[in-house]
C-alpha cells in the first residue's frame, strides 16, 4: 500500500474487471453474488456517509477489490462493496487474487502470512491510497473466536483444543458446532463490515461522523 512502491497505478487500476465483467467470468457462485447484491445491508445513513466521503477533496473515487469467485468471504462481502461504490459514484475494479500476486502482496494479512480476501482498497481520483479493509470485520473475527470458545464448552473440550490437535470424531463435532454457530451471523457480519469500512474512511479522512 506504500504509494512510493505500489504497483497500483492509474493505468493498472483501469485494467481491473468491472463487477459485471467479474460475474460474467465467474464459473461458480453467481447465484450467491446476486442473492447478496439483492439483499443490501447499506442503510440510508450509510449511503449519505459514503457520498459525503467521496466528495471530500482527498476522498475515495476509486475502489480496488481483490477477489476470487469461489471464496465464501468474497460472495458475502463483495456485493456490499459494489453497493458502496454505486451509492457514492466510486469507480470499482476487481482483480483476481491468483492472477495478480503483485497486487495481493501489497495487502497481505496475518503479519504477511495470509492472502485473505476480499480486500477493498480505497484510492483518491489520482490513485493515492486512503485505507483498506480485509476479509471480514474485527467483530466478525471476534464472533468466530467466541463461537469456538462456546463449542469447546458445549463439547467439554479443553481450552487448548484446536482443529489441528483433535482426533476425529471430536474434531468433526467441533468443526460442525462452530459452523452452526457462525452461519446465522452472515448478515450481521455484512453490517459489521460496513460499519468498519465507515470507521476506516472516517479515520483516514478525519470525518466526524463515523458509524
Amino acid at each position: 500500500m506504500a504509494t512510493a512502491t505500489t504497483v497500483v497505478t492509474s493505468n493498472r487500476f483501469e485494467q481491473g474487471l468491472t463487477y459485471g465483467g467479474f460475474l460474467a467470468a465467474a464459473t461458480v457462485n453467481r447465484d450467491r453474488f446476486e442473492q447478496n447484491y439483492n439483499n443490501p445491508v447499506l442503510t440510508a445513513e450509510d449511503r449519505i456517509f459514503f457520498q459525503k466521503a467521496s466528495q471530500h477533496p482527498d476522498g475515495p473515487r476509486k475502489l480496488l477489490v481483490i477477489a476470487e469467485a469461489w471464496c465464501g468471504d468474497v460472495y458475502r462481502e463483495l456485493p456490499t462493496a459494489v453497493r458502496i461504490a454505486e451509492s457514492a459514484g466510486i469507480d470499482l475494479r476487481i482483480f483476481l487474487r491468483d492472477e495478480n500476486p503483485d497486487i495481493m502482496d501489497e495487502f497481505l494479512s496475518n503479519n504477511g502470512k495470509s492472502r485473505a480476501i476480499p480486500v477493498f482498497v480505497f484510492y483518491t481520483t489520482d490513485t493515492k491510497y486512503i485505507t483498506h479493509f480485509t476479509e471480514r470485520s474485527a467483530s466478525a473475527h471476534a464472533g468466530l473466536a467466541l463461537a469456538m470458545e462456546q463449542a469447546r464448552a458445549r463439547l467439554n473440550l479443553p481450552a487448548s483444543a484446536t482443529f489441528g490437535n483433535l482426533p476425529d470424531p471430536a474434531r468433526r463435532e467441533f468443526l460442525l458446532d462452530v459452523i452452526s454457530r457462525i452461519e446465522p451471523l452472515a448478515d450481521q457480519w455484512r453490517r459489521d463490515a460496513v460499519k468498519e469500512i465507515r470507521q476506516l474512511l472516517a479515520s483516514a479522512l478525519h470525518l466526524s461522523d463515523a458509524a
Partner: protein, 83 residues
C-alpha cells in the same frame, strides 16, 4: 493421484474436493503426495456442478470423502475455505 473418477466412485480411493487457491487444500495435497496417497481431486472452483456436489458433503474445503463413507472437512489447524 489418479484422475480415474470411476475408481473413486466405486469407493476404492478417497475423493477430495479442493480449491487450488486454498492454503489448507494445498497443504493437504502436498502431504498426500509426499505419502503417495492415491486420490481423486475434484476442484470446486472450476464448475458449479462440482461445487454443488461438494456442498452435499460439507461447507469447508478441503472435503475428503473416504471409501468407507467418512467425511472430513478442513485440514490441520486451519478452518479451511468456505464454499
Amino acid at each position: 493421484m489418479t484422475k480415474d473418477r470411476t475408481v473413486a466412485d466405486r469407493g476404492e480411493i478417497p475423493i477430495v474436493y479442493t480449491i487450488r487457491g486454498c492454503d489448507s487444500c494445498v497443504k493437504l495435497l502436498a502431504k498426500w503426495d509426499a505419502e503417495k496417497v492415491v486420490y481423486d481431486e475434484r476442484r470446486v472452483e472450476l464448475s458449479q456442478a462440482t461445487l454443488d456436489e461438494a456442498r452435499q458433503y460439507g461447507k469447508l474445503v478441503p472435503i475428503v470423502v473416504w471409501p468407507d463413507g467418512r467425511v472430513e472437512q478442513g485440514f490441520g489447524d486451519s478452518f479451511g475455505c468456505f464454499i
